[in-house]
Assembly symmetry: C2
Amino acid sequence: MKNLLLAQSGGPTAAINATVAGAVAYALKSDKIDKVYAGCNGIKGIIEGRLVEIGERLKDSEQMHLLETTPASALGSCRMKLKEDDKETFEKIVSVFREYNIGYFVYTGGNDSMDTVLKLSRYFKEEGIEDIKVMGAPKTIDNDLPETDHTPGFGSAAKYIATSFAEIGRDCAVYDIPAVTVVEVMGRNAGWLTASAALARSEGNTAPDLIYLPEVAFDIDSFIDDIKAKLLEKPAIVVAVSEGIKTADGKYAAESHQSGAVDAFGHKYLAGTAKFLTDIIKERIGCKVRAIELNLMQRCAAHIASKTDIEESKALGAAAVEKAVEGVSGQMTAIRRLDGSDYKTEIYSVDIALVANEEKVVPREWINRAGNDVMPECSAYIKPLIMGETAPIYENGIPKHFIL
Amino acid sequence: MKNLLLAQSGGPTAAINATVAGAVAYALKSDKIDKVYAGCNGIKGIIEGRLVEIGERLKDSEQMHLLETTPASALGSCRMKLKEDDKETFEKIVSVFREYNIGYFVYTGGNDSMDTVLKLSRYFKEEGIEDIKVMGAPKTIDNDLPETDHTPGFGSAAKYIATSFAEIGRDCAVYDIPAVTVVEVMGRNAGWLTASAALARSEGNTAPDLIYLPEVAFDIDSFIDDIKAKLLEKPAIVVAVSEGIKTADGKYAAESHQSGAVDAFGHKYLAGTAKFLTDIIKERIGCKVRAIELNLMQRCAAHIASKTDIEESKALGAAAVEKAVEGVSGQMTAIRRLDGSDYKTEIYSVDIALVANEEKVVPREWINRAGNDVMPECSAYIKPLIMGETAPIYENGIPKHFIL
């Protein structure tokens, strides 16, 4: 009987541990898998031989629940791309796999991590190594992986973002003087996270009043006009912007307007996008402004994770192990949304070559013509992904976490 | 029978609506009170005659629950100080009170709002107006009001802060390369909110590794030495800093080191405290850095409000109405912590003159000698205030709010 190795890579999310939990849960029930190992700090730690047995600990149901509700990568992460001509590294990986009798390797991550799955599975094929199966399980808050309907981690981040915009909307509505609050959301090229701010809207709450995604060229004059028009309607305006909004020449908005700015050390200073925009609003409109970055909280706020996201993440992890045991290699598990008015999905798997290094952005037709809001189709796509709440275990007033 | 008028003032919190809810609930049960009015946008709206009847709507238990769990000031807020010699304004207030047959006025807020309660109750006394009772109910995330053991809103903000530090700690621990994350917490003069970050620590989580409050003079060289020492222990360091940390000369830390910095418009540029500190760390240590501001989220994240805080806020609102009906005027309700190993409190009321315009800071002996952490006594004081979770009603995946 062979052992299973699990590892995580890329930026953390609130759901990546649920994928590991799902994989471990499947392995513990399988009579084809002996031990379950974690590779610490992704492929980097595996190369260094840093493997830890985790299956035993996770036989305890509270530990398993904690893992599901703990944010970030409990196994540690890395940002490392394998080089195809670096045979030595591949041989090192194989020797570590042999040492621990690994027959199944499941790697969770985003685009770069799927590149590792692709290269590793190709190497095994070329070398005729047939007794080690490599599977990918998707993960990224950015929701920018192709093939899969959406990615684990996105729904939880979107739920935090929508909730925070609803709460910030309440906070900003308390005074009756003109004020513009610009909230910066993650996403360099894909605007999915920023688009999810629209889900904050409800009867009586219009925040965010404007939404700008990186998919549409950003124009500062149109932006100021949009703000001015909104200020005629009501005093407190809340704006959602992607960190990655770019002007028509492809430069980040902040970059293209701040060539002269220097920091305290005389270095070229590049403000955050929200800070840059509030500076401009203050200069051109003169009202009260506030810049907010949702920062790391949007990807690690597991206390308000989406139950739908967590359950799907577990299913994707379990399916990756199931496929590997069935003999599949070089594929990524993915979510297919089924037709019908109710939200229903099925898990399948897809050739990793179709996924690695590709990027899926918000379709132009899901953004309004003016480029300052999303269309109802976009919100309808995101809404089911933020439904449901998890039940973190609280200890001393805060959520308890699984720590390796 | 007289009517009750409720209004809110100052910065929003996650608990200020619970105080209103508690006051309304008491009024609805009282046979001494006829209608319940809300003054929109605090004393400013009252002067303008903007009063709305809210008692009827809050007879519905779901509406009452929504109000309890909605962040910010549902009645609107203002930042307005009454001027003692401005007789015209006081007369205008009296005429509005007469028009609506107001016999009891409860104002929730922080130091400035208690100043309004003080001046109004003094004016009524001087003018011989005995049939209008004015009471204050405390509120401020800063926890800087004297007399009361702590303030409503603080416990919920502290819970969000501790939870976020625990989650950020997980997020920052995933890579094995040196990195310093500086998280800026609200508090210009009082470090209570920043001190509450210490509650994030648990078995396996040391974040925040360092804590800097405005109560101790900030020294940039000692700060860099502290960071260097921590980086010898482990790669990922998380630091909590008050926005209000000041150097020995009383200037804000960022201000005293950034005289030469200019923004894109050539204006003097003052970075946030966290951004400033990470710039310095990058310059002097050269490792990866990240600056985070918890910003408005720390005062409006009602989805993770402290149940203890919400229950106490309701009790303080109810007690303010009770006292007013009993004929008390010119006082603020307050919380007294009772002796004993279990956390127990009682509500009482205190002369408003002892509260208005005073500020309570973290005692020096609750901060360690080096000025880079809090003592266990400080955490023991805060811990009971973050205990328990509320049950927000979720609709479409996000918490539903009460909107006036």
